[in-house]
């Protein structure tokens, strides 16, 4: 192989798209060719810079508003509710018989049950740590990279399960810290994402869908054949779902519809 023949193959190598004999031929050529090694380094640098340039660009807020209020896209609503707690959303769901029944059931429960902290689902117990974590009240694991945080959390969980490790960089959210806490006798892995003034906490633990609060709204995703449970508490929106025997709770102050879409986009069917 000569340098001219190596050109396109270097591009494919930079993109992790070079396999088999082409890859071994190029690797063999690179061992003895300082010039092509430099070209490889240059092209890797260029790709990184172009990627970083792209990541800086975001759709303007007014475009998002225009799309959300475009009746050709969302024909059934003149206005999309911005918050989970908005009147529009409540009107949609409170009027459903199943929701009414659930609310009546909850209201009818003995007050002692409601006051008993031990009866609180683990999902709500986890949520109570949301603000303290963001304020820095609890000790956290910080690391140089997302992989390092993930590795430390996995180790803390004794290898039984691992944090979801979602890549939320498209939303400009990067993992900045992690923590492990014992809640209701179970280990909960906590990954904190932040970026552009937004925070999101991902709680992961072993459990079942019974761990979702009884009054959560349930959405079934027919594509992924998964249930997503949505609820709000104290101005924080939460989406709960299960991947096999592992529960993932995403909590954030971002609008519920965005959080739900985010969870559905990243959830992996077991």
């Amino acid at each position: 192989m000569n340098c001219a023949e190596a050109r396109e193959l270097i591009t494919a190598l930079v993109d992790h798209e070079l396999h088999g004999s082409e890859r071994s031929q190029l690797e063999s050529h690179l061992k003895d060719c300082a010039r092509c090694q430099s070209i490889l380094a240059q092209e890797q640098l260029l790709k990184r810079e172009v990627h970083a340039e792209g990541a800086k660009l975001h759709a303007p807020a007014d475009l998002k508003e225009k799309i959300l209020s475009d009746r050709r896209i969302f024909p059934e609503q003149a206005e999309i509710p911005r918050r989970w707690t908005s009147r529009g959303w409540l009107a949609d769901y409170v009027l459903r018989p199943a929701v009414v029944a659930a609310v009546l059931l909850i209201v009818g429960l003995p007050s002692l049950y409601l006051l008993n902290q031990r009866s609180q689902p683990i999902s709500l117990a986890a949520l109570e740590t949301y603000s303290p974590f963001l304020r820095g009240d609890f000790p956290m694991i910080t690391a140089q990279s997302a992989d390092e945080i993930k590795e430390q959390l996995m180790r803390a969980a004794g290898g039984n399960f691992e944090p979801m490790g979602y890549d939320l960089s498209a939303m400009n959210l990067e993992p900045v810290a992690g923590a492990v806490r014992e809640m209701k006798g179970r280990k909960v892995l906590i990954a904190i994402y932040q970026g552009q003034g937004l925070s999101l906490i991902c709680y992961t633990f072993l459990g079942t869908e019974e761990d979702a609060p009884a009054n959560a709204a349930v959405f079934f995703d027919p594509g992924k054949k998964m249930n997503f449970y949505a609820f709000s508490q104290g101005g924080i929106n939460v989406v709960f779902h299960r991947e096999g025997g592992v529960i993932c709770i995403l909590a954030s102050q971002m609008p519920m519809q965005d959080l739900l879409a985010l969870a559905r986009a990243h959830a992996r069917p077991a």
Partner: protein, 187 residues
Amino acid sequence: MAEEKTSGVQARESFAREAMVHLDHLYRVAFHLAKDRDETEDLVQETFVRALASYEQFTPGSNMKAWLTRILYNFFFDRYQQKRRWISTEAPAEGQSDYWERTPSENPGPERHALLKELSGQIADVLRKIPEEFRAPIVLVDMGDFSYEEAAEILSCPIGTIRSRLSRGRRLLYRHLERYVGIKRRV
């Protein structure tokens, strides 16, 4: 009947919300295809309109980001590009001395570091100077994180074309940016 209608409306709305997750990505692609902000926003908004009009054709569980990007790209050509795709207007001549014939400075020094900082500000401008046929694969693969196969599907061309256009496109890009990456000619 009424239940079916409600279910259809919910499925459509659910699809629309899921599609919104990809808004930033679509904006990025449109930004580097279109000539100005109005055209960029028009491209993105119309992509959502077209996607929702045919959302039933989307296979649940398949790659929504790629599906939406293909709609955006097709719409871009339908509306703004009357010329045939994949016709080169500024392909680098083979054998021409370019960055492949040069090596990076061994010791870049503080000046190069300063130039590197300026580099990111230049990339968007320089991308606009590159013919669309080379720019599109760069935007899809380097910014959109698509595989060659996905990019080929979106651009309706063979995978080999993606590889060669990327290779030549990056050379063009590098030629415009060489001042910022501090390379020197081989002696």
